[in-house]
Subunit: 223 residues, 2 copies
Amino acid sequence: MPTPADRPLLDANPLPDGLPSRLVEQLTFLAEVDKLKTVLRQSPLAAAPRRENDAEHSWHLALMVTVLAEYANEPIDVGHTVELVVVHDLVEIYAGDTPLYDDEGRLTQEQREREAADALFGLLPDDQARRLRAWWDEFEARATPEARFAKAMDRLQPLLLNWLAKGGTWRTPGVTADTVRSRKACVGEASAELGAVARTLIDEGERRGWVEPGHHNPDPVAG
Amino acid sequence: MPTPADRPLLDANPLPDGLPSRLVEQLTFLAEVDKLKTVLRQSPLAAAPRRENDAEHSWHLALMVTVLAEYANEPIDVGHTVELVVVHDLVEIYAGDTPLYDDEGRLTQEQREREAADALFGLLPDDQARRLRAWWDEFEARATPEARFAKAMDRLQPLLLNWLAKGGTWRTPGVTADTVRSRKACVGEASAELGAVARTLIDEGERRGWVEPGHHNPDPVAG
C-alpha cells in the first residue's frame, strides 16, 4: 500500500519545464490520485468476479447522488454532494481502506487518515488544498445535510452490491444482521425512504441466510 | 461485451416485493451501471500495470473538473460539469469503448451509442431518463460551456496518463504527433491554458520519441 513517504507518481516522469507552477502542482495532484484506482475495497462487483476499487466506488456514489437526491430528508445541494463523494475516499491512497467490519483497524483509522489528508491535499496549491480538505472534513463530520446524504450513499452502495452477491461482506466472520443494521442506521438518518429500503434488504437477506441472524454481537456505536 | 439484449444485473436477484416501483426502477439502473467498471479503455493506469476502465476514468474526470475549472475560457457551472462527466461514458456499457484512434469503429459509434442510451436510460423513471439522456446529448453536442469543458477533460486525462506512461496509446500504429494534436484541439477550445499544456506535452513527447513525428497522417476532422 502506498504511504505518504512515497514519491508522487509524477516525480518518476516530471512535466516539461516552463509550465506555470500552479498548474504543475495541480497536475501533480491529479496524477497522484490515479493511485485511488489501486485501493481495493471488500465489496464484490456485481458485474465481474473481483473486488471493487475506491475510484469505481466513488464514481458509483456520484451517480447515486444524482439519481436518489430526491429522497433526502433535508434539501441538499446536489452538485456539492457529488463533490463530497468524489473526494471522500482520497485519503485512502495513503491510509488504505479500513473495512467497515474491521474494529481493530478502525481504532487507528482517524489518525492515519488525517496524516494522509495532510500529505495528499498538500500537493495542491494552498487555496485548493484548503478547499478539498474542508470537503473531506465536512464529509467526515456529517454536520451538513450534504455530508449526511453522501455518507448514506457510501453505506447504501455496498449494501446494494452485497444484495447482488447474495451476501458479499455480510458473510464476514462475526458479522450478524444486527451488526449490519447498526452500520446502516445512518442511511435512514439522511433519507427515511432509503433507510426503509436498507432495512428491507437486510431483513430479507437475514431471512434467506445471507447473513448470520441478528440478536448477538450488535454494535451500538457504529454508523 | 454486454449488449442491450442482456438482462439487467438485478434480474438475476430481484429486489424483495413491496418496494415502491419508482425506487425499484432507480435501483435497477444503479445496479446495472456496475457494468461500467468492466468496460476497458486503451489508456494505461499510471499507478498499476493494467488498462483503465470507464468508471475509474469518469471519476478521474470529475476530480479534474473540480481542480481545473478555474481555467475554463467561459464561466462554467462546476457542479453541472461534474454531472456531465459522471454520465458521459454510460452508453459504453452497451456500446463498448471506441478507441480514439480507431477510425473504423468510429463510423458506427454514433448509432450504437444512441441505441445504448435508449436502452440504459430507459431503465430509469421517465423524468430521470429524460434528464440523464439530456445530459449525455449535451455532452456529445458540446454546445454549452460545461459540455466543452467536460470534453476537454475527457481528452486531457488520457494525455496525462500517456505522459506518465512515456507514450501509452500515442504508440498506436498509424498515430503521429499531428494525429494527437488534432484530437486534442478541443482542449484549447475550452481552455487556453490547458490547451497550451496539452501542446507542450505532445511537443515534448514527440521530441523524446514517445510518439511518431507529425507531418504525416494528420486527421483534420478529429476533435
